[in-house]
């Protein structure tokens, strides 16, 4: 008898263990059903984002303002640290899909072809939203195959940050073209023997090749957007310029800024005179107030006067799996296509909104730190819309640029290898119809 009781107990343990695994699934099913509401109760929307801390508070400010403005829709911000993976899980294995997703726009070209987002063209037409009110490049980045998938919340681009004190001491003015940039960088660089004390200009980020190439008058991909287009004289011009700065003028040392962040940032501590960075660094640098007196100018133009900067930013999209797409659109429209709300968002989060009427506000127009970014955004271009673009840069181009910088490859070899591997990566990661 005892033996049997023991066997039963063990079996019971196993069953309960398995039940524990299964119960999660049923929970989420019932929750999904609960999402369908009756007519008089407000519709609840789940808004997913991966901003925590300060960013979460900024989102909640917007969500609260929207919830107070009407009584038909209730939005709730859901923090998802690993948002993309979570989103993929709900899209495939059931689960409750979010109604809105905070979206890194450059990912659109990878995800939109897989039909996971709902196009908003119809909504735009019904509510007569004027596309010209938004940054065209930002809308382009949210489009695929002639359909628009969301609205931009923020736009950004890199401009030239300079340390006023260091430039004054060296007797130089902020550069406007490559020649002036080279001279200013040379004059502000300070070496102590083999130790670099102040770097004139940051060459830490090889990913900015795109920006320099535009300034040299080039484009990363050809017109078909399927092949790289930098293995030519424009690309060589960029590498010549880098070689001049890094190896001849020695205004920078490889690895100089590695691991430095926030309070130890080389620009904050006065170890770096000039660098390309974006508006996301403004709040960090403003914190250091008097210790760091800095200015911003539009990126210097290339040898033939070409301007160049890369536009990026975030937007909102509505998943195809959402049960309340119309309500989600209402919230998106309220936030991204309304002057007052876009401005509230901009001031809360210290971002440039994608909605142009909001930028007319003196908050942006009269601030010497915002103005250069607005000017830069006028000519900034988004990254090429190819699902393999970022892989092409990360695995095809940048490694060869690093080898070039360390004199392991000649400039011709570096570009030829980048082209060969880059084209292959673009082909391997292209959209499969």
């Amino acid at each position: 008898m005892k033996k049997w009781a023991f066997m039963m107990l063990t079996a019971l343990m196993m069953v309960s263990l398995l039940a524990g695994c299964g119960s999660k699934g049923t929970d989420s099913n019932t929750a999904a059903k609960g999402g369908v509401s009756s007519s008089d109760e407000p519709v609840e929307l789940a808004f997913w984002g991966d901003w925590a801390g300060e960013g979460q508070k900024q989102f909640e400010t917007m969500v609260d303002a929207f919830n107070k403005s009407q009584d038909k829709i209730r939005v709730k911000y859901v923090l998802q640290q690993d948002m993309i993976t979570k989103f993929m899980t709900t899209a495939t294995s059931g689960g409750e899909a979010p109604d809105l997703v905070f979206w890194d726009r450059w990912r659109t070209s990878l995800y939109a072809p897989k039909n996971v987002f709902h196009p908003i063209d119809e909504f735009m037409e019904q509510d007569q939203i004027n596309k010209d009110d938004f940054y065209g490049e930002a809308l382009k980045e949210l489009s695929y195959d002639g359909k628009l998938y969301g609205l931009p919340l923020t736009v950004d681009a890199r401009a030239l940050f300079y340390n006023k004190k260091i430039l004054d001491e060296a007797g130089v003015t902020p550069p406007t073209n490559w020649d002036e940039l080279e001279q200013a960088a040379t004059k502000t660089t300070k070496w102590n023997g083999s130790k670099l004390e102040v770097a004139g200009f940051s060459l830490a980020d090889n990913g900015l090749f795109n920006m320099y190439l535009q300034q040299a008058g080039g484009q990363m991909l050809d017109e078909t957007e399927t092949k790289t287009n930098f293995n030519n004289e424009k690309g060589l011009e960029v590498l010549d310029f880098w070689d001049l700065l890094l190896n001849k003028d020695k205004v920078y040392k490889i690895g100089f800024e590695q691991g430095l962040g926030e309070g130890t940032d080389a620009f904050v501590t006065g170890k770096l005179a000039m660098q390309y960075t974006g508006p996301w660094m403004l709040s960090t640098y403003k914190k250091y107030g008097k210790d760091l007196d800095f200015g911003i100018v539009t990126p210097p133009v290339g040898p033939n006067g070409d301007k160049g900067s890369v536009m990026g930013g975030l937007g909102l999209v509505i998943p195809e799996g959402s049960k309340h797409q119309k309500e989600a659109w209402e919230f998106m429209k309220w936030w991204a296509a309304n002057k007052d709300n876009a401005l509230l968002w901009a001031k809360t989060s210290l971002n440039i909104p994608g909605f142009k009427p909001a930028i007319e506000d003196p908050f942006f127009q009269e601030d010497p730190l915002w103005k250069p970014f607005l000017d830069t955004l006028e000519f900034a271009k988004i990254r090429a819309q190819h699902p393999g673009y970022s892989v092409m840069e990360d695995d095809g181009l940048i490694p060869n640029l690093e080898l070039f910088q360390q004199n392991k490859l000649s400039k011709e070899e570096a570009l030829a290898k980048s082209q060969q591997r880059g084209d292959q990566l673009l082909q391997d990661n292209a959209v499969v119809k």
């Binding site: 033996k3 066997m7 063990t10 079996a11 343990m13 196993m14 263990l17 398995l18 695994c21 993309i84 993976t85 993929m88 899209a91 495939t92 990878l110 995800y111 897989k114 039909n115 996971v116 083999s194 130790k195 670099l196 040392k253 490889i254 690895g255 100089f256 590695q258 691991g259 430095l260 699902p387 393999g388 970022s390 892989v391 695995d395 940048i398 490694p399 060869n400 690093e402 080898l403 360390q406 392991k408 591997r421 292959q424 391997d428 990661n429 499969v432």
Partner: protein, 296 residues
């Protein structure tokens, strides 16, 4: 009498199966089934979101032409060839030092074990600091001797050696503990009789300690090989695969292809080839260590 022993054994056998069933079930659900699924996926163009069509050997054909994938393989093999022997050598050396019965030896053991307790990512972040070319402790110390240290993590020559150093620092502690346990399991009478026969300290190590530790060494080297070929965290934090792809690893590529580019089918094929490579290296290791032969 005999019959009752047989009965008892049969009963114990039955109960043994009952007891290992939960573990085996979990193993099947979370390991065997996913592995079989991954094998199936490696023959499809699965992208998580929209498709899962049979593409036969397309992924494997692409893989053999994928120069970057083989570069990452070359990287981890280079890493393993240096890391695994050094790991065994240093952990064993450390274990023999820490095996003396002296006052305060436990404190030293603890201190040597400490690096293992920190998370790989946190430790790597601190090492980025220590290895900074201008402000890092390592180069500052070299500076006292008039040596200008390199940009450890940013230069192609020193990036991989730096990762080897950091990972060694972190893995020696736990292997040292395993070796200490192994050393304490070596019967004293063997040493005693060897001493009586006039064997030197080196001879005692060569003919007693080392052969007696064979199972321990096999365990440590196998785990080290698996870990080395699956290198990811430290390389990801310290260098992000750079400079010039010299520290990019297969696991990094698998992650990128699968989760960033949504090419799960291709990523599964990459993962399978990696698993087979690990199997091959483990078999070689088994041969070298003669793991199947009994310890005398």
């Amino acid at each position: 009498m005999l019959a009752s022993i047989g009965k008892l054994n049969r009963h114990q056998e039955k109960m043994a199966y009952v007891f290992i069933t939960p573990t085996l079930l979990l193993f099947a659900i979370f390991t065997v089934i996913p592995v079989v699924m991954a094998l199936y996926l490696s023959f499809t163009n699965y992208d998580v979101l929209s498709r899962m069509d049979w593409v036969a050997l397309d992924n494997y054909q692409r893989l053999f032409k994928d120069g970057l994938y083989w570069t990452t393989f070359k990287n981890v093999i280079f890493y393993s060839i240096i890391f695994v022997p050094l790991n065994i050598l240093l952990s064993l050396g450390m274990a023999m030092l820490m095996n003396f019965k002296r006052f305060g030896i436990r404190l030293f053991r603890t201190m040597n074990y400490l690096p293992t307790l920190t998370s790989a990512v946190a430790a790597a972040t601190v090492w980025i600091w220590l290895l900074h070319p201008e402000f890092g402790l390592v180069n500052n110390m070299l500076g006292w001797f008039g040596i200008t240290g390199p940009a450890w993590l940013a230069q192609t020559e020193t990036a991989m050696p730096s990762i080897i150093m950091v990972t060694l620092w972190q893995s020696i502690g736990s292997n040292m503990v395993i070796y200490i346990a192994g050393l304490q399991g070596v019967p004293d009478y063997l040493y005693e009789s060897a001493k009586l026969d006039g064997a030197s300290a080196f001879a005692r190590f060569r003919y007693i300690t080392w052969p007696q530790l064979r199972p321990t060494t096999f365990l440590i080297s196998t785990m080290a090989i698996i870990g080395a070929l699956q290198l990811f965290d430290q390389a990801f934090v310290l260098t992000q695969g750079g400079p010039g792809n010299v520290t990019k690893t297969p696991v990094y590529l698998i992650y990128q292809q699968g989760f960033k580019q949504l090419q799960m089918g291709y990523a599964s094929a990459q993962a399978f080839v990696l698993a087979i490579a690990i199997l091959i290296f483990s078999l070689i290791n088994m041969r070298i260590n003669k793991a199947e032969e009994p310890v005398v």
